[in-house]
């Protein structure tokens, strides 16, 4: 039974950014992965599905620009919050997405829980693995953007390095290797670890709708993030976060969008795993 009290977990801005990232990430993975797994039939099929050369490449670049846009507005948002609105708690405290001393303690507690030596630890607004995912997304986007730009404009980028350096450090060559394996890392991470940690947990199956509707039920809130719930209750701010439960239509739309995306991601994982198995054998 879902309780009727719902709280806001993600504001519209964050949901919109997550949506942009989903759209662009899938576009990037589906048009880029065939190049990394070029020897397999599924790669050829997928590449042709997206128009082959050069259409798939254009789609890839457009999606990259969408990712840049999402990253750009995210940093503008952070800048406005920190510098203009002078909000506190972006670098320190329970609302920060940066690693805090408390996270080390949480990891230890979590491992205890895994081994059956303790009860499930209570978390605050961001759980340590969520922070890790956020930070690795930021780092990964930076790496992919820089190497991607080098591959997009190889002549212009090599122009700025002297010949003596270029004969030891092959910039486009390094960029290609990093771009390829960072992509496999990112796609593999999102489609397995992120999916199984956030969406495909037995208690969430099939999707954690909070990132699409923004709302989380009281039960879920207490179960997942008891510390944040208690903190807000003590500060008498809990009422400020109360929202109407998502309508049936919104829930339907969420699932209509999220479930095919999840399946696509899992199919991609299947393809990549099959390639790994073939490679090992």
């Amino acid at each position: 039974m879902k309780s009727n009290t719902n709280y806001l977990r993600f504001g519209f801005f964050h949901r919109f950014c997550h949506f942009l990232i989903i759209i662009s990430f899938f576009g990037l993975v589906l048009t880029g992965m065939p190049l990394a797994f070029r020897g397999y039939d599924w790669a050829r099929w997928l590449y042709e599905l997206f128009g082959g050369y050069p259409t798939a490449g254009f789609i890839h670049r457009i999606c990259a620009l969408i990712t840049f846009f999402a990253t750009f507005i995210h940093f503008v948002f952070l800048f406005v919050c920190v510098s203009v609105q002078k909000k506190k708690g972006f670098f320190w405290g329970p609302n920060s997405l940066l690693i805090q001393p408390r996270d080390i303690f949480d990891i230890a507690c979590d491992i205890k829980w895994f081994l059956g030596l303790g009860k499930r630890p209570d978390f605050d607004r961001w759980i340590y693995w969520e922070k890790f995912e956020y930070l690795s997304l930021m780092w990964g986007t930076l790496v992919m953007a820089v190497t991607g730009f080098i591959l997009w404009f190889p002549v212009q980028f090599t122009k700025i390095i002297p010949i003596s350096v270029a004969s030891i450090i092959d910039l486009p060559g390094i960029a290609l290797i990093i771009h390829r394996y960072e992509a496999i890392l990112a796609a593999g991470f999102i489609f397995t670890i992120h999916f199984f940690h956030t969406h495909l947990l037995p208690e969430k199956m099939p999707v954690d709708e909070a990132i699409f509707t923004g709302a989380i039920t009281e039960e879920e809130f207490k179960h997942e993030r008891l510390n944040q719930y208690k903190r807000l209750e003590n500060q008498r701010q809990l009422q400020n976060y109360e929202v109407a439960p998502p309508s049936l239509f919104v829930t339907f739309l969420t699932r209509l969008f999220a479930i095919p995306a999840l399946i696509t991601g899992l199919v991609m994982v299947g393809f990549m795993l099959s390639a790994l198995i073939v490679w090992i054998l």
């Binding site: 070029r38 002549v155 122009k159 060559g173 593999g188 670890i193 940690h197 037995p202 208690e203």
Partner: protein
Amino acid sequence: MGYKLEKSPIRKIVSGLVRFRWFALFMVCSAIIGLSPAVLTAGDNGPCIECHTNPEKLKTAEKAKINPVTGEIKVISMVINESTFKASAHGGEDFFCIDCHQDLDGVDLADGHKPNLKPVDCITFCHDDPADDYLQSNHVKLMKDNSKDVPVCKDCHAGLTYHFTSIGEKAPMYVPKGTDPLHRRLTIESCGSCHQEYFDSYRNNAHGQIAALGHTTTEIPVCFDCHGKHKILNTSDPESKVGKERIMETCGSCHANVNASFVKHIEHPQIKNLNYYKKLLAALKNARSDPENFKKLLKNPQTILCVVFVMYVGILTFTFTSFGLHSLLSWFAVVRDEHKRKGHTDEEQH
């Protein structure tokens, strides 16, 4: 390498009719000419096609041929596909079998002709331009130095034959051009059948990975776009397309405004070549006794590529094992908690 000319049933019927037509013509002709012996003359393909479209009329329907370069043995059928021949660049009205198979000029065909014809000479009268380039190439020089048979045109221009076999000999409908995507792709495989290491490393590169997905239009460079078509020379040769003097021009034919740093790019990364890693390890072991070699390898741009690659393999392995384990454990713990909770509520109900 899987290009077989599939015959549709309609075409089979048509070619059957064509065969029958020739057969009928032959019967009529032989009736008219009577006992006069058939002599091959320029200006007539009839006598050749008459037998070479019908395996039953041939003494030898199939022959084995050894590729002088790869040593590969192929079975080549002596049967001609007439429509393929007619559609080819050599199949025009004023072009005849004996123009190429010159040792059959004026031969009496009463008992058939001798079994082994001379190899076709493409060079002397027609294709002297590419041949001239080819004879100056490193391939020819190496073969001569090692006193081996020089590969002939057909050894690389695979499929440039009108002979058909039951096992599926390639038979392009035209003499392949450098701009034709299928021909461009087949040449990668032809070069790769000898130069396996370069073929593998090419596929690890930006150009080769798109070619590997089956896109080989002129926008995607294949082997001969960079190394030259017939005059393939060693990089040390000043005339080589990939040598110091001409590399800017070669890369510049696709990439506008190339610069001297850009052309230092490694087209054949050794990141997946075990031999290169063995070489690196050996140099590392002998770093004290032979520091020059070690320094040289360190300065080789391939080394950095290999280090980056190995680093990423490490990162991938570490990330997926640690976080995979974490995911599995959290899944297991959630299920366990759920199970316990259910057990409790059951007890309370009883």
